[in-house]
């Protein structure tokens, strides 16, 4: 069966309604007690209550603020290190293995270290965000640079580009598709790290609300905040990084226009 492109969204919608329906059905069957397994309606109501009591918005804002600052720093560091790796084979060989190793580390594993280093201060959250995402951005940047078509470099040289101007005028722009992919992945990892850190060492934020839900044995809050965390992460991934990536791939001639 071939589903037309414009009809697929109805299938997706149906899929999520099916999940909600199954969830509700499981709840109604009453196999698991409702303080452990709340219904979609209870979760929705709890989120509504949190919002109405003015708990939700300040926490969302705090998480996003930390993410914006932390990820900006991480992206800058990652880009710079990636540029150095891309320009020097020695730097690349040394750092790539290290960063690949660090990437196998779950982002939450940075939380204990940050507690040791920074105690309960806010800096620790930034530390986790940065450590979680720098390797991904750096590796993607250096890979992008190492895979720049030689043609672009030759063109730049024959057109008289001075060596000092190469990184800004040619190398970074030419590696941009890969860099954006790295930023997208880095954002996801930063989001993981940031929320993990908030679980343990903050008094505000999505992670904190998750932690509070557990403390209060409030399963509806735990699941509700999980759903919100997924939603916010997904929205940014799709509608900020995803759209930028799509535009760049199209413009760089690496993707076909679907229309």
């Amino acid at each position: 069966m071939r589903v037309p492109e414009n009809k697929i969204k109805y299938w997706v919608l149906g899929f999520y309604l099916l999940i909600l329906g199954t969830w509700q059905a499981l709840f109604s069957a009453g196999i698991i007690p409702d303080y452990l397994f709340p219904s979609p309606v209870q979760v929705g109501r709890r989120i509504w209550e949190l919002a109405a009591d003015n708990y939700l918005w300040p926490s969302v804002k705090a998480t996003f603020q930390r993410m914006a600052i932390g990820f900006s720093i991480a992206a800058s560091i990652g880009l710079l290190i990636g540029l150095l790796m891309g320009m020097s084979r020695v730097v690349n060989s040394c750092l790539k293995s290290l960063f690949l190793g660090l990437q196998t580390l779950p982002t939450a594993a940075w939380v204990p270290v940050s507690l040791l280093l920074f105690g309960l201060s806010e800096h620790g959250i930034y530390f986790v965000i940065i450590m979680s995402s720098v390797p991904a951005v750096a590796i993607a940047t250096s890979d992008g640079i190492l895979h720049i078509p030689t043609l672009y470099l030759r063109v730049a040289r024959t057109l008289g580009t001075p060596t000092y101007a190469m990184p800004i005028r040619v190398i970074l722009p030419a590696a941009l598709p890969s860099i954006v992919t790295g930023l997208k992945l880095g954002w996801t990892l930063a989001w993981h790290g940031g929320v993990s850190a908030e679980l343990i060492k903050s008094s505000i934020g999505l992670g904190y609300l998750l932690y509070m839900g557990r403390e209060l044995n409030d399963a509806a809050q735990v699941i509700g905040i999980m759903v919100l965390t997924i939603l916010f992460g997904l929205l940014l991934d799709r509608f900020v990084f995803g759209l930028i990536q799509k535009r760049i791939l199209l413009r760089w001639g690496l993707a076909q226009n679907s229309s």
Binding site: L151, Y152, R154, V155, R157, T158, L159, G160, T161, P162, R169, V170, P173, A174, L176, L250, R251, W252, G253
Partner: protein, 272 residues
Amino acid sequence: MEAADPNSNVAAAESPPVKLRLTNLSKTYAGQTQTVEALQPVNVEIREGEFVIFFGPSGCGKSTLLNIIAGFETATDGEITLDGTAVEGPHHDRLMMFQEHGLFPWLNVIENVTYGLKRKFRFKPKARRETARQYLQMVHLEEFEKSSIHELSGGMKQRVALARGLAPDPKVLLVDEAFTALDALTRAKLYGDIQEIFLRTKKTIILVTHDPREAACLGDRVLVFSGRPGRIKADIKIDLPRPRDINDPAVAECAATIMTQLEAPTDESSGK
């Protein structure tokens, strides 16, 4: 049209000055078991305003020679002088146009053309734009100056690349099989454009091709290369009136002569 000894440089009295002189230029690649002679010593003088074709089969050293002139490869031996001065390394005086357009996708059409002008009009973006517009007009793409590269067809991209190569006013324009990847109709149109530009700008152009028709259609002079080891086998002058049409019988006849020269046996080896 006459075939001359490739190494003789008998200049007519009123010939324009020598622009590019290649003296004893050779290239060998040292492999692990043997050295490969990619190019036997070449002696060529290219005069100002001459449209010279490097013609030959693949692996004959014509592209190697072009890359050496452009500065992307170094010669094992010999010297290149441009206007009497020895040159080395890539420089926008010897600007290369490649088989693939190589336009920067992060810049739009006019930004690509102004790119090479950054050194020329250092602090005057307006002057850069005006110059770029002139060259876009020359390739008939002035309406597309704001377009992104991915919106252009293959022929249009190559025309932008041509404008980008001409805009910095290089002393020699080097063209590396820039038309071979295009379809026949687009190519025929580009042959017209480049001849029109050649007549207008009197630019010295070296074009590498393996298409005898293209060589006959565009060149004032065709250097015929043969392979293994790469060397220049013949130097053919073409004085057909311009602009020439690729489908003109005279061009076809000329192409046949070029092929004959390529296949003709020499005393050193029996052709290719």
